[in-house]
Amino acid sequence: MEHYQTLEHDVVVIGAGGAGLRAAIEASAMGCSVALVCKSLLGKAHTVMAEGGMAAAMANVDDRDSWKVHFADTMRGGQYLNNWRMAQLHAQEAPARVRELEAWGAVFDRTRDGRILQRNFGGHRYPRLAHVGDRTGLEMIRTLQDHGIHQGIDVFMEMTVVSLLKDGDRVVGALGYDRERGRFRVWKAKAVVLATGGVGKAFRITSNSWEYTGDGHALAYEAGADLLDMEFVQFHPTGMVWPPSVRGILVTEGVRGEGGVLRNKDGRRFMFDDIPDNYRNQTAKDEEEGWRYVCGDKNANRPPELLTRDHVARCINREVKAGRGSPHGGVFLDIAWIKEKIPNSEEHIRKKLPSMYHQFITLANIDITKVPMEVGPTTHYIMGGVRVDGDTQMSTVPGLFAAGEVAAGLHGANRLGGNSLSDLVVFGKRAGEHAAKFAKEHGAGAVNPAQVEDAIRRALAPFDRGDAGENAFAVQSDLQGTMQDLVGIVRTENEMLRALEEIGRLKARAAKVGVSGHREYNPGWHTSIDLHNLLTVSEAITRAAIERKESRGAQFREDYPDKSAECAKFNLVLRKGADGRMQVVREPVRPLPAELQQIIEENK
């Protein structure tokens, strides 16, 4: 049998983005020995790509802001399917987490009086996003990384976890392999934190990297944990559309926050044509008011470009389908136009959006200070994920915690921009803290060698089939096409049923994938392992999306285009049944406590 090394820690954190790093820092600050495992090098996780900023009601720019308004905005954005306890804790604790980053060396952009500057973003009532130009995620991950390396955390880079190990009900460790050599390793732990990020690679057009294959979602599901809200996948309205090789790469919402406007091929600002009722009071009446908002006029409402992402994405989709799109199948996003309003606009744009400037000049030969960009929707984020307790972040499996994008609850049916970076640190800290507590209270469990050996055998099976097996890349690409075309921005029952059938066929093919060559840095082998995770999350997304027969938040169903009062009453849980099949269960939405309900009423 394959040899493997076993390491012991109090807490093992899987994933080294903002959530994983923050969890590891907290657990180690509480005196635990901590292993931090990640698929890439340290500092390369998705968090590094986040651009626009992190939301926290510090009220540095507009003193009317408070946690209550942030809470109400988050709930409205999530169409009230959010875990209200998480929305509350997030709004209350985000400012302290931002200040903590500053105390650890982060250098945010400043206000005139020398405090942390905050910018406008979709769905946030007041300027709320602490930011560093358009590279806020880099600032966050680097700050946490540089702080964390002095904490005595054992970091395991370029290693992939393939299975969670259990002792009875409880999770007691993880099995993984190093990508460099393909050697297996067991991290035995008293508590495990999942911080593995999202699932974007289930779709063809995405802002996400190869890492986003839903590993944490699938690991938790296989370990018996509940997944929640998986139907809610966020399609970001503005991804690059041209040239083909950059399709899907994100164009930050910060462009619109700084005054960028959306136009169709006729030059019309089509976002003014369709403003949802629940946002009408907060949206500018005309272009002039929208611009005043961008300039910081407190009496002005925000321009419709800053409506929630689900809505903007659908409006863009509609323009394109109606034949009013741009030459390469998107619409125009114009920031250059602000030259009509301010002197030195080109310099201003380069200063405020340096990486967007750089990205377009280099990849598309477009100077965004002079001409509009072409943009279209791209798969960006999953609101759904591992179901956790709002206070402790523990999943439904004892000893298994989850934080960041892999966890569900905070964002409900739709996430507001900027609410993820704050989510990572607020709940990363909580997950680390409670995992440490759990470790101290429960001691070590036992790892079952048979379970380890079985998981290793499954991981290595593709080598036995060699070249004769299915090509992993081909199966992955077919899955991405299926999800993109049949379970995308606009959904119907028929198409999703077809997707389910297709996923069934793809599963059969995935079971026959073969790889040749050695185990060292072998992308074909890695993809063969990712495939199982992608298939699990794709099935979960599709089953939940079929079950929710309404349009709400990020889910838009052509066959049920309206919200339904009935569907407002439940979240959807997915779990592995005793027969090994995926079950979809309706879970009643927990009623809000009166004081939180009142906050929502006051902020309507």
Binding site: M49, A103, R135, D146, I149, S245, V246, G376, N471, D485
Partner: protein, 263 residues
């Protein structure tokens, strides 16, 4: 069809033409160049071509990447002999004829194909004393800093840790002084800490002794390859060198320090 792909069908036509890539394959024991031919279309970057080669003919070709947008610093390699990010190198910026050579960063030990062992950089970073802020300025535990005072530090903090500057620096690349010299990336890191308005730590003795700042003879090769356009030499290394000189060699400063300790 209700799917999204209507809105995103790859409109426009893009001409594709075959192109040869001469890719270094091997590991710590040695290796050689292999030629692969793949179709290149409009707007493609070198990383796209490498991915295509993986999918078509070399599924075990190893390379690192994450963001595909120049933000994570994973995809560093030497393209036609120049250290660059593969994801930000457009095919139409390279000479139109002849094969495109792609090889790993040569200043680091090879692991496999385009992947190198960059652990030196992580170890070196750990040896630099961490950020230590002054007491908060306001009773609520916050600080006040003017934008003008943080501009310089923000420039350094743009670093995506691609290690291309490390790759091109002759002290590491040709003289293999990895144990004595942290390299330009880490000097930028030290500068970001030293020039941070809130920081109170003093790293000058370390820079001089442990981190080997004296090895840098200001060739500025590092600045030229930095994809983030950080003026590594002029803005970070030279000012650090001046501080080191002031601290250790300038008698007047020494005298002054007797009366006013600290930085």
């Amino acid at each position: 069809m209700a799917g999204q792909h209507n809105s995103t069908s790859s409109g426009g036509s893009s001409e594709r033409a075959p192109r040869t890539f001469r890719v270094w394959r091997g590991d710590a024991r040695g290796g050689q160049f292999h030629d692969y031919t793949t179709q290149v279309g409009e707007g493609m970057v070198v990383l796209d071509a490498i991915h295509q080669i993986q999918a078509e003919s070399a599924p075990d070709l190893a390379c690192r990447w994450n963001c595909k947008a120049g933000k994570c610093g994973s995809c560093s390699a030497e393209i036609n002999g120049t250290p660059r990010l593969m994801c930000m190198t457009r095919m139409d910026q390279l000479p139109p004829d002849g094969p495109v050579t792609v090889e790993p960063m040569r200043a680091f030990p090879p692991v496999r194909d385009l992947v190198t062992d960059v652990s030196h950089n992580f170890r070196a970073k750990k040896s630099i004393k961490k950020f230590t802020p002054r007491k908060p300025d306001a009773p609520d535990g916050t600080w006040r800093m003017q934008q003008a005072d943080v501009d310089r530090v923000q420039e350094f903090r743009k670093c995506i840790e691609c290690f291309l500057c490390q790759d091109v620096c002759h002290v590491l690349r040709d003289h293999h002084k990895h144990d004595e010299f942290v390299g330009p990336r880490l000097l930028v890191y030290a500068a970001a800490l030293e020039m941070h308005p809130l920081d109170t730590e003093n790293r000058l003795a370390d820079l001089k002794n442990r981190h080997g700042i004296g090895y840098c003879n200001i060739t500025k090769c590092c600045t030229k390859v930095c994809p983030e356009h950080i003026t590594i030499t002029d803005n970070s290394i030279i000012p650090l060198k001046e501080r080191v000189v002031d601290e250790f060699y300038d008698p007047l400063t020494k005298l002054f320090r007797i009366f006013k300790p600290g930085k």
